[in-house]
Assembly symmetry: C2
Homo-oligomer: 452 residues x 2
């Protein structure tokens, strides 16, 4: 398989570039047509790989692309999930080359979506295509279910899965949308945090007011917002919202040891990120903070005058976007309501607060000893010469919990990204070595599953 | 004079509309050409009024327009100051009609700059024009000095005045850029607060980070900024910056009584502004807070993701614009440095702070018993039937202190705006009654000065 991948590598990279050129940003209404183009591109690419029953399924939001090949009698059925939508590109000025003009530099392909998730999704399509070309058949039954709304928390895939249980039925769900521990050390993630995101808007007067005529005597929406936002954490980094930690599992010595097994070079990470110091919840390590503890982060804030120079106003409206990562038995809806209560209890006089929920996802935990996960580990080991670790990821892939609970199948999180690949940030990229070895690993995995 | 104003009213309003159509926003570099057009328009209008020696004087920033008429032998010389630049128009979506398409509704003319300061400046040009037309001469010597940088704190007018002391020499400086107490109750302002404005930027990592991979474990620039901004006031509304109140005069019973003379209808103001409650420094009335106390207001805040929906990042940069109103002997530079020190002393670990000064102006106090001010009060009384009050204004006109100290002449702040006219806000307007009566009052004032 290695030789085959080598043979087709250049044309595969060109195809990936075409995929990456499509600005399929699911969160921006203006990009709807581009997201549709992304869906069509995936459908075409599934056809080229030999898939059958290909559909671009319209939803209330962006389309889901389905395709299958079900002629491997008495063999397991694998459902491959991925997403063709990407994060917004801003801040655009920090990109060294434009986000939707992919270029290869130093063995990495740079573009929005390179690692999250177009590159990682595409390697499965190419693995299947090569297997099909080589044998005219596949070692396992395959179903592709590729969505365009992962970056906006999969609002339409979730009901689709629930209503199409039979169509999507599979022995395992394979997803490549996570990362290695570091270059050369593969990982199969066995835990994903849940998520809750919301927007908070503070309103005061019915218009911006002149700061000379009213400043110091009327409520200032930004003053109220910074006070409210600052009240969400205490000075030790703990989240100060009453009820927030309900359902968070106790951190046992055993769990701490498990988390500590994943290597972490504090000085190296600081240097790479240009950080002077880490900061987080007192009494926990970096790995614990991002892996097994819940978090609350302000992702954006805006209010008052935004231009160059100055406008001396008392602004009448300000807002912030907040997202939480949740663990254990934390309930996103309960967390949302506890934050709402906190804000109402802490709001200064003369201020109105509006909240809107943007995202909600349950935490999920997977069994590293499951046979489908162990076979995946074998495939990695054969290609990379190193057995993967089984880390607890800090991120959230809301749909994983739905796949696991509805299809009652193990979910295998075969990541091929690296943590340093700037996902969700400027200069996102994907190491081409992991693109080609990823194709090999995926093909190897499907062959192993067929021989099981 | 009343009949004459009535006769020309409609054409004057059409001319004012032309003036208001020019988007001469001094703070926006993109509007440079429009600001230049504003200067040319003023110069032409001075010519029409019979002024001589008209110049559009280029500066490092926007031009100063000068024109004079100096043939009233043995009569006083009046320098009329105003500004043809305007505030930015945003938030544009809150304007009922476009900011640079002036319309008259219910006896008010709506447009950015209507009351601040194009309408108020233009009424002096028209008063002079009518006097000149009627008599072929003027009762006093007149110098116009009209700038295009008031809304950015007059950086070039200040050195111009200092270097052109002789050219600008006058017995009194007349400025219409303030407001009545309320409709029907004129005011000549006798005190203006000073100003200091700055921008604060907080920086953490070298790029935005994924909140799933890093959230809760690295400094978040928005968390740091909201904490720093919230620390600037205590919960009683007092400014918590050490040294900030240095030079603030003691609030004596006498001063309180003087301030209280200006009527204030708390419920009416609340209703007009759509406010549920006032908020400000404990122990002071609304009038004291906006008239004689210093303030610190956040005018704008920005950081992280600004678009629709969500981007789950730990933002690496966030910033806020702050402006202070200063009183008594407060020194803007000392206040700037005390805020810098406060921010450094309160900054969380792993955070860098950058500060930039945007504006600096000294407070100014004028003598209500000065003859030039008293004659102005007579002129108001004749036209409006009510003698003006002499309030202490909350706003800042940085150049007033420079005129007063360099020219050693009384500054007469003959306001014709109303506090409810949305200056610096959407739907700015100017009551046409005060435009026409303002022309009458100004003409009456110049006649009275000539007879003195």
């Amino acid at each position: 398989m290695k030789e085959q991948v080598e043979l087709h590598k250049d044309s595969f990279i060109e195809e990936l570039k075409d995929f990456l050129k499509i600005p399929s940003i699911s969160s921006l209404p203006d990009r709807k047509e581009d997201v549709n183009r992304g869906a069509d591109w995936v459908a075409e690419s599934l056809g080229k790989a030999g898939m059958e029953n290909i559909e671009v399924i319209q939803t209330k939001g962006h389309p889901i692309v389905y395709g299958d090949w079900l002629h491997a009698e008495n063999k397991p059925t694998v459902l491959i999930y991925g997403h063709y939508d990407v994060q917004p590109e801003d801040p655009l000025e920090l990109w060294e080359t434009p986000p939707f003009e992919p270029v290869v530099r130093d063995g990495k392909i740079y573009a929005r979506g390179a690692t999250d998730d177009k590159g990682q999704l595409f390697l499965h399509i190419k693995a299947i295509e090569l297997l099909m070309k080589e044998n005219g058949t596949l070692p396992v039954n395959v179903k592709f279910c590729i969505e365009g709304e992962e970056e906006v928390a999969s609002p339409n895939l979730s009901p689709f899965i629930r209503s199409q249980e039979e169509k999507l039925a599979a022995d395992a769900v394979v997803i490549s949308d996570t990362t290695f521990i570091e270059k050369g050390q593969p990982a199969i993630c066995t835990s994903l945090r849940g998520a809750l995101a919301m927007e908070v808007t503070v309103k005061t007067a019915n218009t911006d007011l002149h700061s000379g005529s009213y400043g110091g005597a009327v409520p200032n929406s930004i003053h109220a917002l910074v006070s409210l936002m600052d009240s969400l954490h205490d000075e030790t980094g703990k989240i100060a919202v009453e009820g927030f930690y309900e359902g968070v599992p106790e951190v046992t010595e055993e769990l701490r040891e498990e988390v500590a097994q994943v290597p972490f070079n504090s000085e190296k990470v600081k240097r790479e990120l240009g950080l002077e110091a880490f900061f987080g919840e007192e009494g926990f390590t970096f790995q614990e903070r991002v892996g097994i503890r819940p978090t609350l982060e302000i992702n954006g804030i805006t209010g008052g005058f935004q231009g160059e120079g100055l406008k001396t106003i008392v602004p009448n409206q300000a807002s912030a976007k907040i997202s939480c990562r949740l663990v254990g038995e934390q309930n996103p809806q309960a967390v949302f309501e506890s934050i709402q209560r906190h804000l109402e209890n802490h709001k200064p006089a003369g201020v109105r607060i509006e909240t809107e929920q943007l995202i909600q996802a349950d935490p999920v935990s997977l069994d590293s000893q499951d046979a489908y996960i162990q076979v995946a580990a074998d495939a990695y080991e054969q290609v990379y010469g190193v057995r993967p670790l089984f880390p607890k990821e800090g991120g959230s892939i809301p749909i994983v919990e739905v796949f696991a609970s509805v299809l009652k199948a193990p979910v295998v999180l075969m990541g091929f990204g690296l943590p340093s690949e700037n996902l969700h940030a400027p200069n996102e990229h994907f190491h081409l070595e992991n693109f080609t070895k990823g194709i090999e690993t995926a093909a190897n995995y499907y062959i192993r599953l067929g021989n099981k």
